[in-house]
């Protein structure tokens, strides 16, 4: 198991969003999170990545095994594409960015300032970072936003290669990714019930009984 989630409750701020999420991810497995807007996909992914602490339950993963890519892309507009990638390679202790550049066809853009990229080109750069990070578990939040069909296929190929190499991936998306082996999890199933007194994960001030 590279990632095991047990009876997890997650939320943003004071509000519990999802409750009782459990799943296990073996090496080579991919999980696609689905659900309507505001269902809690982003919240769940942030918890998996260790950014938001869970309300209850546990996330089991090797330390430093998760690579997260969210809506914000963490790209510095003033640096070139190559400089951006090199920086992340250095942060993750790698020094090879060539493969990542190739996987998302960034060679031609290497010397372009990241601020001058189109939306899809920027997205490709932020996906290339995943390859540079070299982490086994990918937590991706709407990774294919702004990508054209060709680049969605590139992304699918990158994920497939990652899975084939023993990695795992959890991805939230609203569109079809074209990754054959992926299972789907509808997070709407886990929507947290309206809070009631005595809940372990609930806000201690939010119970039924008035003060």
């Amino acid at each position: 198991m590279v990632l095991a989630v047990m009876d997890l409750s997650v939320g943003r701020g004071l509000v519990e969003v999802l409750r009782g999420v459990s799943f296990r991810l073996a090496p080579g497995a991919a999980l696609v999170l689905r659900g309507p807007n505001g269902a809690g996909k982003t919240t769940l992914l942030r918890t998996l990545a260790g950014l938001t602490p869970p309300f209850a339950g546990r996330v089991e993963a090797e330390p430093d095994s998760v690579a997260y890519a969210g809506h914000a892309d963490g790209i510095k507009a003033q640096l070139t594409v190559a400089e951006n990638l090199d920086f992340w390679a250095a942060v993750f202790g790698r020094d090879e960015v060539g493969a990542a550049m190739d996987a998302f066809d960034l060679r031609g853009l290497a010397d372009r300032r990241a601020g001058e990229l189109s939306a899809g080109q920027k997205r490709r750069l932020s996906l290339a970072r995943l390859l540079v990070a070299g982490r086994p578990v990918w937590c991706l939040d709407e990774p294919t936003v702004s990508l054209d069909a060709e680049n969605v296929a590139r992304f699918a190929a990158a994920v497939t290669a990652h899975l084939a190499a023993g990695g795992a991936a959890v991805m939230a998306t609203h569109i079809e990714l074209g990754i054959g082996s992926a299972e789907t999890l509808d997070v709407a199933r886990f929507a947290a019930p309206p809070p009631s007194a005595g809940d372990p994960g609930a806000d201690p001030f939010g119970g039924d009984a008035p003060l």
Binding site: A49, G50, L51, T52, P53, D64, V66, A67, Y68, A69, G70, H71, A72, D73, G74, I75, K76, Q78, L79, E83, F87, W88, A90, V91, F92, G93, R129, A133
Partner: protein, 218 residues
Amino acid sequence: MIALILRDLRLAFRAGGGFGLALAFFLIVVVLVPFGVGPETGRLSGIAPGILWLGALLACLLSLDRVFQLDWEDGSLELLATSALPLETLAFAKAIAHWLTTGLPLVVAAPLLGVMLNLPGPAYPWLAASLAVGTPGLSAIGTFGAALTVGIKRGGLLLSLLVLPLYVPSLIFGAMTATRAAEALDPLPPLALLAGLSLAAAAAMPFAAAGALRVNLR
């Protein structure tokens, strides 16, 4: 960590970057003071060490909200937090980068600007020494404040209010070093105290800042 410092330096130097910001602000203060208080040389040279230290401190304060804010806005901070780099190291690297882009230029520029305020002769080396010793402390304290307020849009107000009281001791000892030198008294004791302050700040800051960052990233 070195990659991080290098990146921050590179960002600071690029395209209108923040590199000169503190320096420009410092220059502004020093140029404007005589306009404000009037040009009598006697009066000017009396307040020169204080104004120079104050200018350096304000310049430092000014650039603090950029320490983490830009990285937070574009998501880099989240990504750095999920990387192998401990947040303590991150905070330390940020403080170093901040000092290199802010404190160091101030140390170099202060004696030159002292000329404009008629700083008395013997005070020059001590002014530079006190800034060299004191500004790392300012950067360290400031980085902690920036970590506390990251994510708060327009958190600059809060940041200034939090950091200000922490800066007062540095200001007092720093200005005292230069003033005592100007008045031909022994400037060493306040300088030693200043060095102690900076060391303590640099040693304690990474842990406090990392804790604050962890809370703010939730």
